[in-house]
């Protein structure tokens, strides 16, 4: 990989300042970014590590629901969010493998917005708010397609605030070699309605399956999904599965997630 200057600020203000340099790139857990840099698909001239910023670490209940610091590793979310938001904790505990979960963070995951990452489905499915150093962004506005988000140049995710649903579950169909989701579905039932977010399936990244949301809003029952159809035309097709296969997985996994949510 190309060389770069490594900086590790201890405050958000210093991180924002460091991100103002030419060719600067934020580094969180690095479990995607470092392999990407080895392939020379990314070659920042300054790498700004966010793992030394205490105010971006940890999980706590607060205004608007569960606040998860952007630099909180998956293993911590899996352990500490369990009593507040079990579906989110379970999702975090199923990402990658144990060593990846020690390093990888929620902020890194949603800033990258890999179309097969788990976290974007929880953020979109919960209707969470992404808090940056500049503003608060609703999940519906944040995810803008494949590896694309509302983040501007130099903008850093500070925390994600999750409203706590009445019921929720995440079910993923593992791609066993990469341990990413071949397809994954996050279902959350709130008093105001149901949200269904799908990762791993669409060429446009994470998306809400509104037909299922409407049907499940009438009755939160796995049967409600059986009569629906999923349009395969924008689904990913690769050696692991055809678009039609993924479209079917969306339906099957949504049913399973509803059943798992209880």
């Amino acid at each position: 990989m190309h060389n770069f200057d490594f900086v590790k600020p201890s405050s958000i203000a210093d991180a924002v300042k460091a991100m103002g340099q030419d060719g600067a790139q934020a580094l969180s857990g690095g479990q995607t970014l470092i392999p990407t840099m080895k392939q020379r698909l990314a070659a920042p001239s300054v790498l700004v590590s966010l793992t030394g910023i205490k105010e971006m670490q940890g999980v706590c209940m607060g205004e608007g629901g569960l606040h998860v610091g952007a630099a909180t590793p998956h293993a911590i979310v899996a352990r500490e969010a369990k009593s507040h938001y079990p579906a989110l904790a379970a999702l975090a505990g199923g990402i990658g493998d144990p060593a990846v979960r020690v390093r990888g963070t929620i902020g890194g995951s949603i800033a990258n917005n890999d179309p097969a990452a788990c976290y974007p489905s929880a953020v979109l499915g919960s209707g969470a708010t992404v808090v940056t150093n500049k503003r608060k962004i609703a999940a519906d506005d944040y995810f803008q397609g494949l590896f694309t988000t509302a983040l501007e140049e130099g903008e850093i995710v500070i925390e994600v605030v999750f409203p706590i649903p009445e019921k929720a579950a995440y079910v993923k169909f593992n791609q066993p070699a990469s341990r990413f989701a071949l397809t994954g579905v996050f279902v959350a039932k709130f008093a105001s309605g149901v949200r269904v977010a799908v990762t791993g399936a669409s060429q446009n990244g994470v998306f809400r399956w509104t037909d299922a949301e409407n049907a499940l809003g009438r009755s939160f029952n796995a049967q409600m999904v059986s009569g629906l159809t999923v349009d395969a035309s924008e689904m990913i097709g690769d050696l692991h599965g055809t678009p039609a296969y993924r479209a079917n997985l969306v339906k099957v996994l949504t049913s399973r997630a509803v059943a798992a949510a209880g």
């Binding site: 490594f6 590790k8 690095g30 990658g96 020690v102 390093r103």
Partner: protein, 161 residues
């Protein structure tokens, strides 16, 4: 070059590194601790797992400077003080938990992390925890058996398959 300091296997160490120097490179090339193996170099295979502040990480996917000041433990730090094999290492030998041995350092470090978190894991727990450690020789069965045995559980009923 930047000077980086950390504690490796209980010893204070330091060395000059570039921004891009990985923890695995610092250990292997900087300190000569070549027990940590680099298999895939893409964070998939787990041969490079070491402990950083007591937790397992893939050392090929962490920059040395990002863990400055940390307590690092590698496979070289796993043996007992008198040089005899630790319980986990001995169990790998007793149960034939390795063939070529390339994945073994990572397997042992992951197994040690598992047993710290879950001292009496089920076979399922062991298989699940070792998901990020790939072995191309053994078919995993004897690795799982070794980890179960290292946890003090009776493995006589676990048949070789």
């Amino acid at each position: 070059m930047t000077k980086v300091s950390m504690t490796v296997n209980g010893r204070a160490v330091s060395g000059d590194v570039e921004g891009r120097t990985l923890l695995s490179s610092f250990l292997r090339e900087g300190l000569g601790l070549t027990g940590t193996h680099v298999g895939c170099d893409t964070s998939q295979c787990g041969a490079c797992v070491v402990h950083v502040n007591g937790q397992p990480v893939k050392s090929c996917s962490v920059f040395a400077q990002d863990v400055a000041g940390a307590e690092v433990k590698t496979i070289e730090g796993m043996a007992n003080a008198d040089g005899s094999l630790s319980v986990i290492q001995q169990a790998f030998q007793d149960h034939h938990g390795l063939q070529c041995g390339f994945c073994t350092p990572g397997m042992v470090m992951s197994a040690a992390a598992l047993l710290k978190e879950n001292p009496k894991p089920s076979e399922q727990d062991v298989r699940h925890y070792l998901e990020g450690n790939i072995c191309r020789c053994t078919g995993y069965h004897n690795i799982v058996k070794a980890v179960m045995a290292a946890s003090g559980q009776d493995v006589s009923q676990i048949a070789a398959e």
